[in-house]
């Protein structure tokens, strides 16, 4: 009899084999919604057009947090994705128009091997793994999400940045046919984010294709996004079509709107307040009820292993 063993000797089931309660409840809710949608004969714009395919991957136990994962339902209905509207529920309602396949990502700039990679090829570039990360939004709420993907450093290595590359820019799709929120002038489109090359190369920086053991829902940044867990959520660009390696620091979307409120670094930092609210505490979505005080926010969102990236930097100045 063949007994398969994982390299680390611990047999963990694939996440797809243990369907979390929240997920199947979410599916049931979806089925009800879908039935209602049929009754309404297509008047509703459902982001859940069909059940998403699985995206199984072995959990990497080096990248898990003890916190309880947020319910799938909450993580997929309470989103900031302004390309689909500024309301938290807008992405879940309206992201159904996003066509996540076919999809390609252009790799450009200061690299030896610029190329356009199809998302199917990107998926196979490195072994997928599941990691459970805390997500802290600059607005003062947080979630805990199981992502599926691999370290962005795998892709960076494959395209061979040259000696001039110091920053990496991530550009989100901006197609008015697929994204009804682009009519709004809240932000300059396309949504652009960026990291220093060493931040992008940090093993924590994830190129993600899935969450909760399934492919990314549109409203969460399908088909491919980055996840930088020690920075405020807006740094983690969604639905990426372009990754550009640059000599100079890119201008990023929120920084262009309000440079005093959203810095280029935007590391989670309880000591540095947002001008309009304190960042010392956060509301964990789905945790407790009316009588649960907020949680204390942790420096670098608890990911102290990134501290060495900022040695000697005044993080109050470079917020």
């Amino acid at each position: 009899m063949l007994i398969k063993r994982s390299p680390n000797g611990i047999d963990l089931p694939f996440p797809s084999e243990i369907t979390p309660r929240a997920v199947y409840e979410g599916r049931r809710a979806f089925l009800k919604q879908a039935a209602a949608g049929l009754v309404l004969a297509g008047t509703g714009e459902l982001a859940f057009a069909a059940e998403r395919p699985k995206l199984g991957a072995k959990r990497n136990s080096a990248y898990v947090v003890p916190d309880k994962p947020t319910d799938f339902e909450d993580a997929t209905t309470y989103n900031n994705f302004y390309e689909f509207g500024t309301g938290k529920g807008d992405p879940a309602r309206r992201a159904g128009s996003l066509r996540a396949r076919p999809w390609a990502v252009a790799i450009e700039g200061e690299v030896a091997k610029p190329r356009t990679i199809d998302v199917e090829a990107l998926l196979k570039l490195a072994p997928l793994e599941e990691r459970i990360y805390r997500l802290r939004c600059v607005e003062g709420w947080s979630m805990v999400i199981p992502w599926t993907g691999y370290s962005l450093s795998n892709l960076i290595r494959a395209v061979e940045p040259n000696g001039h590359a110091r920053f990496v820019e991530f550009v989100t799709l901006a197609d008015p046919d697929q994204m009804p929120g682009l009519g709004s002038r809240v932000l300059q489109w396309p949504y652009t984010e960026g990291l220093r090359l060493d931040e992008a190369n940090h093993p924590l920086t994830l190129l993600a294709f899935g969450m909760y053991g399934e492919v990314l829902p549109n409203q969460n940044g399908a088909p491919v996004r980055i996840v930088v867990p020690w920075k405020y959520g807006f740094k983690s660009a969604k639905s990426i079509v372009r990754i550009r390696f640059r000599r100079d620091q890119p201008r990023t979307s929120w920084n262009l709107v309000a440079p005093d409120e959203y810095g280029f670094y935007s590391n989670v930092n309880p000591e540095v307040d947002h001008p309009r609210w304190s960042q010392a505490t956060e509301r964990r979505i789905g945790e407790g009820g009316f009588f649960t005080p907020k949680r204390k926010t942790l420096m670098f969102n608890g990911y102290n292993q990134v501290a060495s990236l900022y040695t000697g930097m005044d993080l109050k100045r470079y917020y």
Binding site: E73, L187, A258, W277, S278, R283, I285, F290
Partner: protein
């Protein structure tokens, strides 16, 4: 309008004004407020405070426009509903944002301009709510009206609070709408006042 009709109208308006509260309460008790119910309550009560402030300010221009003088009989209840939702909004802020830590709340009030103006608007509403009884109206006489003109300051402060809250997200569509509504409502006062002055000068 007959007194009986007016009594029924008042009852209807009372029930209508209570609806947003009942809705928040029921949804809050049945997990119907989405992923962040505390935020939904804070935003919901704040919005309704602003709606009722605008409705209250609309009573006099609407009365002048339509000649329905009975509308004035609803104004006190509408103003008190504005105060009711503003109080819930303040309690939500004190409870959910600061978990009743008065010192932390006070730091927030002093440090952040959008909270400063919101807090100021709420504090200024307190004497108006306290002097809303018939007895207070009688006792204060002409001073009652002067005191209640504070509403002309309170409503712009509330709009500013909303504006600055949304400014960080550069999402100014709704605040702009309310700024325009309030500007129009206040402008009708200025026009009416100038007419009165001119009529007085002519006489």
């Amino acid at each position: 309008m007959q007194p009986r009709q007016l009594a029924w109208t008042k009852r209807a308006v009372f029930l209508l004004g209570l609806l947003p509260f009942v809705r928040l309460f029921v949804l809050g008790a049945t997990e119907g407020l989405g992923a962040n119910p505390l935020e939904a309550i804070t935003h919901g009560t704040g919005s309704w405070a602003l709606y009722f402030l605008c409705i209250t300010l609309a009573v006099t221009p609407l009365r002048r426009l339509t000649g329905w003088n009975w509308l004035i009989r609803l104004r006190r209840m509408l103003g008190l509903y504005a105060f009711f939702y503003a109080s819930l909004h303040f309690i939500a802020f004190l409870w959910f944002d600061h978990f009743f830590d008065l010192e932390a709340m006070w730091r927030d009030v002093r440090k952040r301009p959008f909270i400063t103006v919101g807090f100021l608007a709420f504090v200024l509403l307190l004497p108006l709510a306290a002097t809303s009884t018939d007895a207070a109206v009688r006792r204060l006489g002409r001073r009652w009206q002067r005191l209640h003109r504070a509403i002309y300051l309170i409503v712009p402060l509330a709009v500013l609070h909303f504006w600055w809250m949304k400014a960080g997200k550069n999402d100014l569509g709704e605040p702009l709408l309310f700024a325009v509504i309030v500007a129009v409502l206040l402008l009708t006062r200025v026009i009416a006042w100038r007419r009165r002055v001119r009529a007085g000068a002519a006489a």
